[in-house]
């Protein structure tokens, strides 16, 4: 039985529809990310699961029990808030002990469990600090300790790392993943940062405009996007207007949204290579074009090549200095690396 089941949830705020018939299942101990641009409904979905919002239609089931009508304090889950929401009038230790105390633990027991949880997130010995005296990273850890101290079956995290700087965020991603594996709690992690989602998740739920576009592991949604939105949102993609199945003819177009092709071909920039003018590789598509821009970024060479009316992005490992702007080039794309999606 899945730990969480979301059944056909819709939610509107006045005239604005935040979620349209969203369904999702999360297994025990799983790390699931809700990924999407701001306004896609991912935070609304999280708040519905936590119980801060009621859905217009649909149901939230936790371990098979319908929780749709229950308030947050009756749900067996905890939340790490985006701004941490640590009680400012309590020390870290008091903040973390709050959950056990509400659950009926004695003061001594609550104190011990708080100390243990603080230890677990690397805040041992910081229990006497007040939130305002601590750094963002420490507050983040304290919020995490407070959320896991009651050992919920399910932990909801609302962009918990977004306020941290890049270095700290990377470190916290690794720590968070390790902690999740160690304590075996299912995590639902809301983020708009796809690298963060890729780095941590067992499965990623890509959302857009109140709908789930695709659910899959990081490799899957990158390799085989099911919709144009996912192809464009995850990583960089070259989109070509393509004919019906069995037809390998495809054209780069300026705006794939506007084209009326039957299918769209997705080619990742690292699968495009430069070949000699005379070369004619087997099982590959060949395009002639002109280099429009060259940039060396972090050990990669990024090329923008004008092909017909559109542009193809090429990414080559290493700093290639042999190409320059205005130079005619020949591009090759192996057929096996082309992924087709229906143009809807």
């Amino acid at each position: 039985m899945s730990i969480l089941e979301i059944r056909g949830i819709s939610k509107s705020f006045g005239a604005y529809t935040a979620l349209r018939k969203v369904s999702l299942e999360v297994e025990a101990g799983e790390f699931v990310s809700l990924l999407g641009p701001s306004g896609c409904g991912k935070t609304t979905l999280l708040r519905l699961v936590a119980g801060f919002l009621r859905p217009d239609t649909g149901a939230v089931l936790i371990e098979g029990r319908d929780m749709t009508a229950l308030p947050p304090n009756k749900r067996p889950l905890n939340t790490v808030f985006q701004n941490y929401a640590l009680f400012p009038h309590m020390t870290f230790a008091q903040n973390v002990a709050y959950g056990p105390l509400r659950a009926g633990a004695s003061r001594t027991e609550a104190r011990e469990r708080a100390a243990e949880a603080l230890d677990m997130v690397g805040l041992g010995g910081h229990g006497q600090h007040y939130p305002r005296e601590a750094s963002g990273g420490q507050q983040q850890r304290a919020a995490l300790a407070r959320a896991i101290v009651n050992r919920p079956k399910l932990l909801l995290l609302d962009e918990p790392l977004s306020a941290l700087d890049l270095q700290l965020r990377r470190r916290m991603q690794i720590e968070l993943k390790r902690l999740q594996e160690r304590i075996g709690i299912a995590f639902i992690f809301v983020t708009h940062d796809q690298e963060e989602a890729m780095a941590m998740s067992d499965r990623i739920v890509v959302m857009n405009a109140g709908r789930i576009e695709q659910v899959g592991c990081g490799g899957e949604i990158y390799r085989a996007p099911q919709t144009r939105f996912v192809a464009q949102f995850i990583g960089d993609a070259n989109l070509f207007a393509a004919g019906p199945a069995g037809n390998w003819e495809m054209q780069p177009v300026p705006a794939v949204e506007a084209c009326d092709a039957a299918r769209i071909a997705v080619v990742r920039p690292e699968h495009v290579s430069l070949i000699d003018a005379a070369a004619c590789p087997e099982d590959a598509l060949v395009f002639e074009g002109t280099v429009e821009a060259v940039a060396g970024i972090s050990g990669m060479t990024h090329l923008h090549v004008g092909v017909g009316e559109g542009t193809v992005t090429v990414r080559i490992l290493g700093m290639d200095t042999s190409v320059s702007e205005g130079q005619p080039v020949r591009l090759s794309v192996p057929r096996q690396s082309v992924h087709f999606i229906d143009n809807r």
């Binding site: 936590a50 119980g51 801060f52 308030p71 947050p72 304090n73 905890n78 939340t79 808030f81 701004n83 929401a85 640590l86 009680f87 400012p88 009038h89 709050y98 959950g99 509400r102 659950a103 007040y130 407070r146 959320a147 009651n150």
Partner: protein
């Protein structure tokens, strides 16, 4: 933006001058008068007269008892009112109407409003006729000339101050704290007790200090509702200055009131700071 020192000095000069001329200088004059005799010698006799006389202590007692009761009643009545305004009213227009209703009396003179209470609380006033009509009392209750009457008047006049300060404090509490509390298993009462109330205490304390200071220094309301039966310290001070013309004794009374008020406020803010921790 960095301001030139001259600009800062210019901006600060006027309020400083005003403060000096109309607050510190008069206060110094009063303090000086309280410490000198009619001939200009330094003396503590006025203070001795104030502090070694049980009559003054009883007046001080009445004044501070009224101040304390007013403060407590204002807090007890004002907190739910502020809660209603900030947390329960969803229709913005209605909230605005409520706020205006609370503030409006402040635009009316104290004297008028206290007179109003004199009429309402009189033997044949509206309050007594209701009490008798509903059979709550057999005979009209005496309000005018009692501490109860003064208390009613003071609470009525000072209630807006606590509603506004507590309301402001409640409005500033981030909803995510209460959501976090609910998320951690706390029910509504528990959340209020452990999170909302402690976070609103600084606002309640500043409201209480305001009300207390205004209540113990109030003159008009006690004077009109006392019916000559109850005396509070400001009435005694007014008497010394306006009819007896004893600025030395009056000054000592005024400084005594100030000293006791400051001591009480210091105590209250200490409690407030401990509550905020």
């Amino acid at each position: 933006m960095k301001s030139a020192p001259a600009v800062v000095a210019g901006l600060v000069a006027l309020p400083t001058a005003f403060f000096l001329a109309f607050f510190l200088v008069p206060l110094a004059v009063v303090a000086l008068a309280s410490l000198t005799s009619g001939e200009g010698d330094v003396t503590f006799t006025h203070y001795a007269r104030v502090l070694f006389d049980s009559y003054h202590w009883s007046i001080l007692g009445v004044t501070f008892r009224l101040g304390l009761y007013t403060t407590v009643i204002c807090l007890v009545l004002g907190y739910p009112l502020a809660w209603y305004l900030v947390r329960m009213v969803e229709w913005r227009l209605w909230r605005r109407v409520c706020v205006i209703l609370i503030i409006l009396p402040l635009f009316t003179s104290n004297i008028v409003r206290s007179f109003g209470w004199m009429i309402l609380l009189g033997r044949r006033g509206l309050v007594n006729s209701w009490l008798v009509d509903f059979g709550l009392v057999d005979r009209p209750v005496r309000f005018i000339g009692t501490e109860t009457g003064i208390l009613i008047g003071l609470v009525y006049i000072l209630l807006p101050f606590v509603v506004l300060t507590i309301g402001n404090a409640l409005a500033k509490i981030d909803v995510s704290y209460e959501q976090a509390s609910a998320d951690l298993g706390a029910g509504a009462m528990s959340t209020f007790w452990h999170v909302t109330l402690p976070l609103s205490i600084p606002g309640a304390v500043s409201g209480a200090i305001l009300v207390f200071a205004l209540a113990v220094s109030a003159y008009v309301t006690p004077a009109l509702l006392s019916g000559g039966q109850v005396t509070v310290l400001p009435m005694l001070i007014f008497q010394q200055y306006s009819s007896v013309f004893d600025f030395h004794y009056g000054g000592a009374l005024a400084i005594t009131l100030l000293a006791f008020t400051l001591a009480m406020i210091g105590l209250a803010s200490l409690v407030g700071r401990m509550g905020a921790r």
